[in-house]
Structure formats: structure tokens, C-alpha cells
């Protein structure tokens, strides 16, 4: 019975082909450093799921952001768990992505034909940092308020166009309700969409080229 269902689906969806191409790929000799990319992907999904759950209660308004987070932590069943995972997952994700990048560098896996995979990886790293930067403001407490004040000032120190960049980031010259709202929008829509798109291309390239072998002694 299940076999028939499976065969029916396979005929139309090509499940077997998908399986062969996506999961049953040849790998270079096993090495734990090669699992970091998958770990980063897992963390992205985890952040996405816990982040969506946080939006059930979080409110991106200066009047309520802090109180709504307080409510998540103390008022909602398992709110502390969901926020805790999102909070620590964010740090872990930056660390994992960074080490993944280091490993690719150390094993020289960015060489032909994988230059584009590397370039897209740099984009992934930057957008991940952007997620951390925009997410940090959302609790709207003293720490996050001043961190963003300083962070946007640093971006504003670019010669000539610095002042303009600062105003674009803050939505005006001051840190305000506009800043919180645009950081929220970037954090839950724009940057995740960019990440998802970049991850898609990144993975396509990895499947297309296969994984690189570790350099041998002679290299």
C-alpha cells in the first residue's frame, strides 16, 4: 500500500532522483569540519522558527517592545525557552558561520571552480551579521539602544556619504520609533529573504561541484 503511494508520488515528483542528487552525494573522506555548513543551515532554520514564534507576542513599538519582551520572558508558557533559543542561537550562528568560513579558507576550497560559492558565502556572512545587528535593537532596552546608537555612528563615519548612511539606517537623524520599525522589518523580512536566496544559490553550487577534497601533503 505505502509502496504504491510512494511509487505514484515518485513518478510525478522524481523523489528518487532528488534523493540521489541531494542526499546520496559522494563526499570526500569524512571530516567534522565539513559539517559546519549544515550546522549553519540548521541554525538558520531554528532561528526562523523561533523568530516566527517570537513575533506572536513581540511588538516593535518604543512603547511596548520592552514590555512585550518582558511578557515573553515572564508571562507566556515556555516564552523564556523560545527567546533563549533565539538569543543564544543568534550568537552561535555567527560563530558557526565564521568558523565554516575559516575552514573553507584554510582548506583553500575557494579556488576554481568554487569562487562563486565563496563570494556568496561572504554575502551570507555579512547578512548574518546584519541579522545580529538589527535583532539586537529589538528588545529596546538601554543596552540595545546605546549599542545601536554607537553602531549607526560607526557606519556614519564613512567619508562624504557617512551622514546619509546614518540617516538611512536610523530613518532620520535620531534613533526613534522609525529606527525600531525599520530594523524590525529588516530583521524579519528583508535580511531573512536575502539569506534564504543566497543559501539557495550556495547549496546549488555545492551540489553542482561536489565538495572539495582536502589538500594533500603535496599541495
Amino acid at each position: 500500500m505505502w509502496k504504491n503511494v510512494y511509487e505514484w508520488l515518485d513518478e510525478r515528483l522524481g523523489l528518487n532522483d532528488l534523493y540521489k542528487n541531494l542526499l546520496d552525494r559522494p563526499e570526500p573522506k569524512g571530516n567534522w569540519w565539513n559539517t559546519l555548513g549544515s550546522a549553519a543551515l540548521f541554525l538558520f532554520i531554528l532561528q526562523g522558527v523561533t523568530g516566527i514564534f517570537l513575533t506572536v507576542y513581540y511588538t516593535p513599538s518604543p512603547d511596548h517592545a520592552y514590555d512585550s519582551i518582558n511578557y515573553i520572558m515572564n508571562g507566556v508558557a515556555f516564552g523564556w525557552l523560545i527567546r533563549g533559543i533565539h538569543h543564544w542561537g543568534a550568537t552561535l550562528m555567527v560563530v558557526v558561520v565564521f568558523i565554516h568560513m575559516l575552514r573553507v579558507f584554510v582548506t583553500a576550497s575557494f579556488k576554481y571552480p568554487r569562487e562563486l560559492t565563496w563570494l556568496i558565502g561572504i554575502g551570507l556572512f555579512l547578512v548574518t551579521l546584519g541579522m545580529g545587528f538589527t535583532g539586537y535593537l529589538l528588545p529596546w532596552n538601554q543596552q540595545s539602544y546605546w549599542a545601536t546608537t554607537v553602531g549607526t555612528q560607526i557606519a556614519g563615519s564613512v567619508p562624504f556619504i557617512g551622514d546619509f548612511i546614518l540617516k538611512v539606517l536610523r530613518g532620520g537623524s535620531d534613533l526613534s520609533a522609525l529606527t525600531l520599525q525599520r530594523f524590525f522589518s529588516a530583521h524579519i523580512w528583508m535580511l531573512p529573504a536575502a539569506l534564504a536566496g543566497l543559501i539557495g544559490v550556495h547549496l546549488y553550487l555545492i551540489i553542482k561541484h561536489g565538495e572539495s577534497n582536502f589538500p594533500s601533503k603535496e599541495d
Binding site: 514564534f53 506572536v56 507576542y57 511588538t59 511596548h64 514590555d67 512585550s68 518582558n70 511578557y71 508571562g75 507566556v76 508558557a77 515556555f78 516564552g79 525557552l81 523560545i82
Partner: protein, 170 residues
């Protein structure tokens, strides 16, 4: 080395063992993730947010017979991070020494809800909004109000002599 060869009466094959343990471990993980997730989403539905309570009004001994005694209190409603407070008020009128022989009016005018005041010289509750007028028994004496003043009918005097009314959100 065939798995099937080992499946005696009471033995399970390695394949089945792995299937069963995977199922159990998967189930446990599923519960560990699913229960918090569902509890998190449903949580506000389980919170009643106390909508009724006994409210202390004042020392019963301070309330003089035949003299309306004004009181007021606020109720705070908490929904998540949002707090709304509403003010309420009224008048206690003792008719005799008997504590049960007491009427407690709500000072909310029955016309459009302004707060009525006791005017001793007129011996009436006067509404500032459209000149509604109620007698000391709560009956309408004039103006637009359609019915007598509402009453808090549930009240008690505690052991330490405090008058309390039972307030229920409508």
C-alpha cells in the same frame, strides 16, 4: 549474517530494533519540541484575568445613617503587556442600624454614563451632563435618565468592620 535468520520467537531483528528505537527517540524529541511550542501559542487562552473581586469601600462605622457616603475605586485589567484601568464609584446609604438595611448605588448615570454627585441642598443626585436628577432612593426625579441608578447588590461587612462590595465586570 542475514537478519532474518536470527528472528526466533522472542528475539527481534536488528532492523526492527533500530526502527523501534528511532521511533521512540523521535517521539520523545517530537514531544519535547511540540509541547512547549503548542503551550506557548495557546497560553493566553488559559489566562482568566480575574474579572470579579471583593472590593473594600471603607469603615462601615464611618458611614452615617441617612447620609450618602461617596466612594470610588479603580480596576486594572492586564492583557499581556497592556494595562487598562477603569474608575468606578458610588454611594453607600445606610437606612438604619441594621447593616443589611443598606443600599449602594453606582454613581454612573443611567443616561450616558457621566458621574452623578450628591447635592445635599437639593437632596438629590445630580448629573452634570444633561441635568439628570435622582432621589436618595435612586429613582429618577427629572432629566433624560431612563431608569433608576444601578446598585451594587452584593456586599458584606468584614470582621474588622470594613464594608466590601462584590464587583463583577459586565
Amino acid at each position: 549474517m542475514s537478519d532474518e535468520g536470527h528472528t526466533g520467537r522472542n528475539e527481534i531483528s536488528r532492523r526492527d530494533f533500530i526502527k523501534v528505537t528511532t521511533g521512540i527517540v523521535g517521539g520523545v524529541i517530537g514531544l519535547a519540541v511540540g509541547v512547549p511550542a503548542i503551550a506557548y501559542l495557546l497560553d493566553p487562552a488559559f489566562k482568566s484575568g480575574a474579572k470579579e473581586a471583593w472590593i473594600p469601600i471603607g469603615k462601615f462605622a464611618d458611614m452615617q445613617i441617612g447620609q450618602p457616603y461617596a466612594f470610588s475605586f479603580t480596576r486594572v485589567q492586564v492583557n499581556g503587556w497592556e494595562r487598562t484601568s477603569t474608575s468606578h464609584g458610588g454611594f453607600v446609604i445606610r437606612k438604619s442600624d441594621n447593616p443589611t438595611d443598606t443600599v449602594i448605588f453606582n454613581s454612573r448615570c443611567t443616561h450616558l454614563g457621566c458621574t452623578v454627585n450628591w447635592k445635599a441642598d437639593a437632596q438629590a443626585f445630580i448629573c452634570p451632563c444633561h441635568d439628570g436628577k435622582f432621589g436618595i432612593n435612586g429613582k429618577v426625579l427629572g432629566g433624560p435618565p431612563p431608569r433608576p441608578l444601578d446598585q451594587f447588590t452584593d456586599f458584606r461587612v468584614t470582621q474588622d468592620g470594613v464594608l466590601e462590595i462584590y464587583y463583577k465586570e459586565s
